[in-house]
Amino acid sequence: MIAVLALAAGVVLGLVLEVDVPVALQPYLPIAVVAALDAVFGGVRAKLDGIFDDKQFVVSFISNVLVAAFIVYLGDQLGVGSQLSIGIVVVFGVRIFGNVAAIRRHLFRA
């Protein structure tokens, strides 16, 4: 419950505060969002599985975002940024999908 409140508070903060994303970081925003969503859904699923672990969640969020951003940065430098972005989106997308399916089974038993 507190977790949901924290998330909601973050969304409100992000919407209300005029956070200026530096132009250099803007290409990484969508990837960071996907990576963060993966961490969140993974955490929710682990919670429902009864194996949630705070440290694991924090580390997975930070490493997801950093690694995803780094890969895109590397891809940009090598000229294959869009292809690597697709790869990252596919991997995270599959994981999000699988985790959401598990959450669904937990919630609806279907």
């Binding site: 924290a6 973050g10 992000g14 993974g42 672990d53 705070d54 694991q56 969020f61 599959v94 598990a102």
Partner: protein, 297 residues
Amino acid sequence: MADPKGRHGFGVAPLSPDFLTELFQDPLDPGYADAAARRAQGRTRPPWQRRGLRSLTLITLVLVGMLLGVACRHVLAEEPDRTRARAELVERIHQREAEVERLREISDGLRDDVSRLRDLALDDSDVRRLRELEALTGLARVTGDGVVVQVADGPPVLNPTSGEMVTDPESRILDQDLQRITNTLWASGAEAIAINNHRLTATSTIRNASGAILVDYVPVAGPYEVVAIGPGDLEDRFAASETAALMRMLADRYGISYNLRSERDLVLPASGEPKLHYAKPMETAPAAPSPAPSGGD
């Protein structure tokens, strides 16, 4: 999962050879299972550490929320920016076009003044000769009977991939089509031609620039109206030409619209002042003795 310790060992199920299959089968980070296994073994963290990690989780969640909020705001802010920039550019183009139109009117008026004053200064035969030359070179407005050739892109069709109504590139009028039409008109005896009210001269160009057709570097948009003044049988001559046959074929096969008709009392505008790019007018006074060979002995 049966052997949680195995995950930490070297070489024991490090990464399945088929990474994607594992990803599909078990999307949850294996770290959660490891942590649960550690807890099951009784290796729990001290309470202070647990509280600290708990607050870290909350901070992380706030961060995730902020990320989502910022991204949302970012996406929302970007779209109007783009449309606004486009609208601004469109408006600026219209403004400049209106300005060009205004300046052209002024220049037309001034040119009329100049020719009137010149007519006063010259005798009748010179005036007539000048007028004729001006009409021929496109420097003066001309009137007469002639033909109007109308061509236009085919009707837009639904694009199955984008769902937009677009004109099939095959049924578009190209610069070559207009070039063909004007060349055939000249060949059929036309003495003055204008495309969409833009008079052609001996140095006029009809070109293509990324989908737009430029006549003397001024973009013209369809439907294109090529108006020509010429002999009475201009329509018949044009209709019998290869170009007309090609246009009819294009109309049949690709759906462009093509229409040829004779019309009386057409008025064609003057073209702009011809620009000299390389030659410079001589600055000698006309009264001075000219060394030109054409002066004769």
